[in-house]
Symmetry: C2
Subunit: 400 residues, 2 copies
């Protein structure tokens, strides 16, 4: 009946919503949700911060803030990012309402309908939904254990009718692929992009969740070594290191790109929530974040270890995966003729759920993979849940 806009006509009913409903059903062991663990939030720390806020800061929490972000948070976040080697002085930082908004802002800045975006395959479902909402043409490039396939990328770009506006990658603790780009692959990517005038969007939402020092070293953002002839737009998030309920993320970009970002942000929601920005600032500025991150890394690392053990114990030989060195996810590969959606149906019947592969394929097709998230999980459920899934694969295979 209504004359919807062209960008909206093609949006279909919500796969993510349906999945989340399923994933949070009582009585089911859920490896589906990509959220932090409900029992690991820094509740005590935030209680303490809240109850010691000076009156003036509390008033600020209730009020509008400047569009770029709550100034003390911009300052403390700069310090936090500078420690990672990020070029916070030569670039500009914008606080966003979650890092999905950061991706949305950058997409609005560069994409007209039909413009090409290169994504990884698999890729973050949130970013895929953003790109769709701007009527972008997505072209995906496979990811292997060291990162995006450079040979494939070159061929892809050569054969496109127009140059892609940007490449969207998540080099660290990839969602869903569970991999981290090798140093060599990062260099290859930057070398290839040199002078091509194709922007690189580096989504680094999981940066702090490495499981060992080698992973920490590997996870140094490409933005830290941005060559003169490549433009990197860097996005990050408080969702995994404080809480998604704060809806705080950021983007770090050069001044020319930043100017438009601020204007776009202003017309999106005026400013990010000051209430949570005030709390996040204290969390950083008081240094509470550092011991908390040590705690988080230990907790998630334990879960990863337990899941790897359970996978080795129960999975049929033909199921392959890459042990992640950080983040939340195992990405499991089935034989090419297997359909993970069908396996998921069986698994749900048996009491466990995950996300099927095609959800993360920008074209929504490739389905012989599935994602297991170990983040929001009681440790004592991992073994049981993985067994249910392994048994469900067996059950499926028998019916082939």
């Amino acid at each position: 009946m209504y004359a919807f806009s062209k960008s909206v006509e093609q949006l279909r009913s919500s796969e993510i919503r349906d999945l989340m409903r399923l994933a949070t059903q009582p009585g089911i062991i859920s490896f589906a949700g990509g959220m932090p663990n409900n029992d690991l939030f820094p509740i005590k720390e935030i209680d303490e911060i809240f109850n010691n806020l000076p009156p003036e800061k509390k008033k600020s929490a209730f009020q509008y803030g400047p569009t770029p972000g709550y100034p003390p948070l911009l300052k403390s976040l700069k310090k936090f990012l500078k420690k990672k080697g990020l070029p916070v002085d030569s670039n500009k930082l914008l606080i966003t309402t979650g890092s999905l908004q950061a991706i949305n802002i950058l997409t609005k800045e560069f994409i007209d309908p039909g413009d090409i975006i290169i994504t990884e395959n698999p890729s973050f479902i949130g970013a895929i939904s953003v790109f769709k909402s701007y009527q972008a043409r997505m072209e995906s490039v496979p990811v292997n254990k060291d990162g995006i396939d450079i040979g494939f990328l070159k061929k892809k770009i050569e054969h496109l009718p127009t140059k892609p506006k940007f490449i969207y990658v998540t080099p660290n603790f990839h969602n869903p692929a569970g991999i981290t780009y090798s140093k060599a692959r990062r260099k290859e990517l930057l070398d290839y992009l040199g002078d091509k005038n194709i922007i690189l969007i580096e989504d680094d939402a999981y940066n702090d969740l490495y499981f060992d020092n080698e992973a920490k070293e590997m996870a140094i953002p490409m933005k830290c070594n941005e060559p003169d002839n490549v433009t990197i737009c860097y996005t990050g998030s408080f969702s995994k290191i404080l809480g998604p309920g704060f809806r705080l993320g950021w983007l770090l970009v050069n001044e020319e790109i930043y100017e438009k970002c601020e204007l776009i942000k202003q017309a999106m929601d005026a400013c990010s929530p000051n209430f949570t920005q005030v709390l996040a600032n204290e969390f950083l500025a008081q240094g509470k974040i550092y011991p908390y991150l040590d705690f988080l890394r230990k907790e998630y690392s334990q879960r990863k270890f337990m899941m790897d053990k359970a996978l080795k114990k129960y999975m049929p030989d033909y199921v392959k995966w890459n042990e992640p060195n950080g983040g939340f996810y195992f990405w499991c590969e089935l034989p090419p003729n297997y359909d993970s959606s069908e396996i998921m149906k069986i698994a749900i019947k048996n009491g466990a759920v995950f996300v099927s592969g095609k959800t993360f394929d920008p074209a929504g097709v490739k389905n012989n993979n599935f994602r297991l998230s170990f983040s929001n999980m009681d440790k004592d459920q991992i073994d049981k849940g993985v067994k249910i899934i392994a048994d469900s694969i067996d059950e499926y295979a028998k019916g082939l």
Copy 2:
């Protein structure tokens, strides 16, 4: 250097930002900001709520929530809106990251580049910036003391090359015009729109801030009496009744429109901040909002009274205004040849600041008006500040 998208190319440097910088300079009496009063936030109430949250609710505050909103807040907000007579059962409610996002979502849903939007003149600057960011063609219709000029509206629509996609109005305690639509004008508008298939967006961010019972009666949303042959999309906000720092607003629309809204919202920021939603829910569900609103109305009403008195005392005879019956604003009219930007420069030099008229003209031209906000103001500054502005008008007039 960069190939920006078409929708972004035309965004210019930030008038709002410059204004806010000016408005918050120390030592200047600012009637510029459209924000609630810094000293009137319900800080004690929120402290009490926060410190009595059961652990499970606190965990929810840190976590992602469903895209439509934190379910208990959807429930308590429905109850709150139902009391106003809003059709919450036959429509669907979506919690947004401030009501500006609600307007943004609706614009994305309906507007392709070049599509026509009818706005009031003057109109809310935030909405103007949203409409620009979607490359809409804005056509404005003057507002007089009873509401939008229906005769002008009819002629305007008759002469347009294509039918407008929607009309955006703020019938209650208008920002910046300070007026409230009369019952007759509301009816005329709805009668005229009947069967025209032009959507009405009713922005009702100030609904609860009436100054007397007559104003309360007048401010009954049009959405409460939505005729079968007109579609009304209703937006509201917690910014003026709790705090803008919570970044919470809502939209109430029919199911067909809602389905797209939810998908758009999902790609914008996944969900609104759960942290502030959990607190807002308790504020409503525990009924703390009702005495707080009584308190707010009294406080703002006192400021309005004092400003009206000061205007009468100091303003030259040729300055006209309408005494508002709710909200935050006086909208003052100067003789046609006066330029309020020039007066503002003089006023700033003399120690007070306001917003010049053209800021609220979608075409950015008409400038013989200015907006005085009495909301974020110490009572004892009003008289002094208005005198400075009146003197500045005199000073300007002498130079004409």
